[in-house]
């Protein structure tokens, strides 16, 4: 984890993914690829706040939905340009995270988990009920297609999944690089110190509250913008962006990947977006399966897949060592 070079190495390995749109013809699979990129952002952000700070945030979906609605309302009802709307989405999410953070960080980790869940549920209720702003269950359809003037290429419209893939990937890469940078920095070490022993960190003069808030705000910003991008991709925002389904999927990705490990979580995000589609599992059974995986992971490999591998490796090393010892004597 102390080798920042790995960041570039992994990104280099990911480069071929950018060629996907020219290889895959099916719009269907390309849409799943866009969704996978979005889930990478979501789980990297949840991982930052849960895996590294130790705060189980159940309201990441609220930031995602807030971002989606901010973008949808600003672009469809107020003719704001897409770029500005996306930035606004991030800011709205950050403001919400500060509200929730200030209210619930001081209490217990339980209160935080519950308060964050209640906040996420509230926003879904609001999306349904505040019809003058959100149009309720009707949603806000017909969102504009993002266009970008790229030097040498000219104006590019990101209407098809094949093109939108680059947009979502770009955001995923920005998120990954930024969060990685934070984790490797002094701030990241402070965060891990807080997770391991909050009172010890406090006695060393760390402003625990402020560090928690910074991490929470960062995770909400990237999640919010991803939500805005995603609603542009599907061209509509409706209350289902706040569905518990997203929370569920994020948790499965982070926990099965291994909370507090960086790359395995990203691999898990991609695997768990594609696997259910390939298996052609209906939504209900998919969620039942996710639930079962979550429970099983908690009982059998609480450190996730990454932790499981590490544990096996350590065990093997230990047996090799003791065998070597035995051979010697």
């Amino acid at each position: 984890m102390r080798r920042p070079a790995s960041t570039w190495l992994v990104l280099l390995l990911l480069m071929p993914a950018l060629a996907l749109p020219s290889i895959i013809e099916s719009t269907y699979y390309m849409s799943i690829a866009v969704t996978a990129a979005a889930f990478c952002v979501l789980s990297v952000c949840l991982n930052l706040i849960y895996g590294y700070v130790g705060l189980l945030s159940l309201c990441q979906v609220a930031f995602w939905g807030l971002g989606a609605y901010a973008t949808a309302i600003l672009t469809a009802h107020h003719d704001v340009s897409i770029g500005l709307a996306l930035i606004a989405s991030g800011i709205v999410a950050v403001l919400a995270s500060i509200l929730v953070g200030i209210a619930s960080f001081r209490v217990s980790r339980h209160s935080f988990a519950i308060a964050s869940l209640v906040f996420a549920l509230l926003l879904q209720h609001l999306a349904y009920d505040w019809t003058s702003l959100t149009r309720g269950a009707m949603g806000i359809p017909g969102l504009p297609v993002p266009e970008l003037a790229i030097p040498l290429v000219g104006r590019v419209a990101f209407g098809r999944a094949h093109d939108f893939f680059y947009l979502m990937c770009a955001w995923a890469i920005v998120t990954i690089l930024f969060v990685r940078m934070i984790i490797l920095s002094r701030v990241g070490r402070a965060l891990v110190a807080i997770r391991e022993n909050t009172s010890l960190a406090e006695s060393h003069g760390l402003n625990v509250f402020r560090y928690k808030l910074i991490a929470f705000a960062i995770s909400s910003f990237f999640t919010g913008v991803a939500g805005g991008l995603f609603c542009l991709f599907i061209s509509i925002a409706d209350p289902s962006v706040f569905d518990f389904y997203y929370t569920e999927a994020m948790l499965v990705m982070v926990i099965l990947g291994g909370a507090g490990t960086f790359w395995p979580v990203i691999v898990a995000s991609i695997v768990f977006t594609f696997a259910p589609e390939f298996l052609r599992i209906g939504e209900e059974l998919r969620l039942v399966l996710y639930g079962a995986l979550l429970v099983a992971a908690m009982l059998a490999m609480p450190e996730g897949f990454a932790g499981f591998v590490k544990m096996r490796r350590r065990k093997r090393q230990r047996t090799e060592f003791s065998e070597a010892l035995a051979g010697k004597s």
Binding site: L56, R106, S111, A115, V118, Y290
Partner: protein, 291 residues
């Protein structure tokens, strides 16, 4: 507002509030003893309602026979939940306990959707649509029944906690775990009882609310918002808080929604929760098990 309407709205509020109280009491009981929050609580409530409808339609037995069966089934489910999952967890495994219950919630809710489908059902008991008419006053019998069951059970829980050895032991554990173990209280036994009773109460509230509302697989998810806000406002693990805030919310909601949209009501509940977290972080009634 005419006096008749006032009484009707009040009765409605108390009926709904009593069910909120039962539900939140189960949550608080489990938290008090184990320090775990059961995120699947809403789903056990839904299963309670679904089960009573399935039993009544499947076997044709009447409500009064089906209700104890549902409560017993919930109780057993609680004991199994404790023995299979929670027993292995240590104190302080907060996140693990939360994630396990979220997983269970998912399995129950979507399993119910898969098995029963999303179409809402109605319970037919012979008295669900009966009313008592006193002049202009119309009181639905189902709400009176719901209220009576809730009050009886609340009384039983009170007596159980204050007059029986098990209840005293349970309160002891909740107040001071270490001391309770030292005086020879069997922690696992007490915890198992607490979880069993907590989930039992939850199944019961589902069976009771099924008299008033339509029954569908996502009903627990809809209740979860208010239920979790109630336990934060009342204070995590505070039994008295759960009951008082539950009743208050039911009554306030019943009146307020006459003049306000349900959306504004939800904002109000959330605002109250944030205010409590900011100014009285341990809840209005703190952590105490006294009733």
């Amino acid at each position: 507002m005419t006096p008749e309407v006032f009484v009707e709205v009040l009765i409605n509020g108390i009926a709904i509030g009593s069910v909120y109280a039962l539900f939140a009491l189960g949550l608080a009981l489990i938290f008090g003893v184990l320090e775990f929050v059961n995120f699947a609580h809403g789903e056990f409530y839904m299963i309670g309602a679904m089960l009573i409808s399935a039993i009544m339609i499947g076997t044709g037995v009447n409500y009064w026979l089906a209700l104890p069966v549902v409560v017993m089934a919930s109780l057993v489910a609680g004991v199994v939940l404790y023995d299979v999952f929670w027993r292995r967890l240590r104190q302080g495994d907060y996140e693990k306990s939360i994630l396990i219950t979220i997983g269970i919630a998912l399995i129950l809710q979507n399993g119910a959707l898969y098995v029963w489908g999303p179409t809402p059902r109605l319970l037919e008991t012979g008295f669900t649509t009966s009313v008592i008419v006193l002049g202009d006053l119309v009181i639905p019998v189902a709400r009176i029944v719901a209220m009576s069951i809730s009050f009886t059970v609340l009384l039983l829980v009170y007596l159980g906690l204050n007059k029986t050895r098990g209840g005293l032991a349970l309160r002891g554990v909740a107040q001071n775990r270490a001391a309770a173990t030292m005086v020879g209280i069997q922690l696992h036994k007490i915890s198992r009882v607490a979880v069993g009773v907590g989930i039992g109460l939850c199944g019961l509230s589902g069976g009771v609310l099924a008299l008033i509302y339509t029954i569908f697989p996502t009903m627990g998810y809809i209740l979860a918002f208010k239920a979790f806000a109630i336990v934060i406002i009342g204070g995590l693990g505070s039994l008295a808080g759960a009951i008082i805030v539950g009743f208050t919310l039911g009554i306030v909601e019943s009146f307020v929604t006459l003049y306000m949209s349900s959306g504004s009501m939800n904002m109000l509940v959330f605002g109250a929760m944030i205010a409590v977290l900011l100014f009285r972080p341990l809840g209005l009634f703190g952590r105490q098990l006294r009733l």
